[in-house]
């Protein structure tokens, strides 16, 4: 069963303009892998070359920031919603 993935406005242009897409996977990393297969333009926007979550985004499983769970290994099940938002920071 696919899960819903909610995309921030800046990434929607790489996913056919959609705010919410469906992707398959048992972990956040697998869901991201499926997203990249569906939307190759997202390459480089979600994960870094060394396989971590890109520092310019925050990723949530429902109400939890996955950085405080198991990052890309965070388990995902059917009813979960994965949200991606830009990391907002400055000086």
């Amino acid at each position: 069963m696919p899960v819903d993935v909610r995309l921030p406005t800046v990434l929607r242009q790489h996913a056919g303009g959609q705010a919410s897409v469906k992707a398959n996977g048992g972990t956040v990393g697998e869901v991201f892998g499926d997203l990249l297969r569906q939307f190759p333009l997202l390459q480089g926007q979600l994960v870094t070359d060394d396989g971590g979550i890109h520092k310019f985004i925050n990723v949530y499983r429902n109400d939890d920031d996955v950085r405080y769970l198991e990052k890309l290994d965070t388990k995902v099940s059917d009813d979960d919603v994965i949200s991606i938002l830009p990391a907002v920071a400055g000086g």
Binding site: T9, F56, Y60, D63, L85, A87, V88
Partner: protein, 135 residues
């Protein structure tokens, strides 16, 4: 151009003052396609610093959901500069997350707070008019 009601303008400045000695930050929301800010979301500064801000990620998620439930969208971010001018710093430009956003900066350098709004697109800063809606 960005339009703020008096109440929202006052809240931005009040949050900047409340946040001292650290920088304060939050999000603004408007109806899709509108430049009139309808709602302000105070967020925590996870960096807890007088020189940097990092919008608390969970506060961001809550604000995003609340805005969506109200038919609004997040259209920008505000933050304070405790000791420098109301102009985006190199860090602000390097980390600007969305070219469609409005970037409000509140300077507390002088006794009277100064609020200015900018667009930041591909590293280029452009100030935009800030209109106060007295209604």
């Amino acid at each position: 151009m960005l339009r703020l009601t008096d109440a929202i303008y006052t809240d931005v400045v009040a949050h900047a003052l409340d946040g001292l000695p650290n920088e304060a930050c939050g999000l603004i929301a408007a109806a899709p396609g509108s430049s009139k800010v309808e709602r302000l979301y105070r967020c925590g500064n996870a960096a807890a610093s007088s020189r940097l801000y990092e919008l608390d990620p969970l506060d961001h998620l809550k604000a995003d959901r609340d805005a969506e439930a109200r038919g609004l969208e997040i259209v920008g971010v505000y933050h304070s500069h405790t000791h420098t001018d109301a102009y985006p710093s190199p860090t602000d430009v390097a980390q600007a997350p969305d070219p469609n956003w409005h970037y409000l900066v509140v300077s507390l350098k002088e006794p009277e707070p100064v609020v200015r709004s900018y667009r930041i697109v591909e590293g280029t800063i452009e100030e935009e008019p800030l209109e106060l809606d007295r209604k």
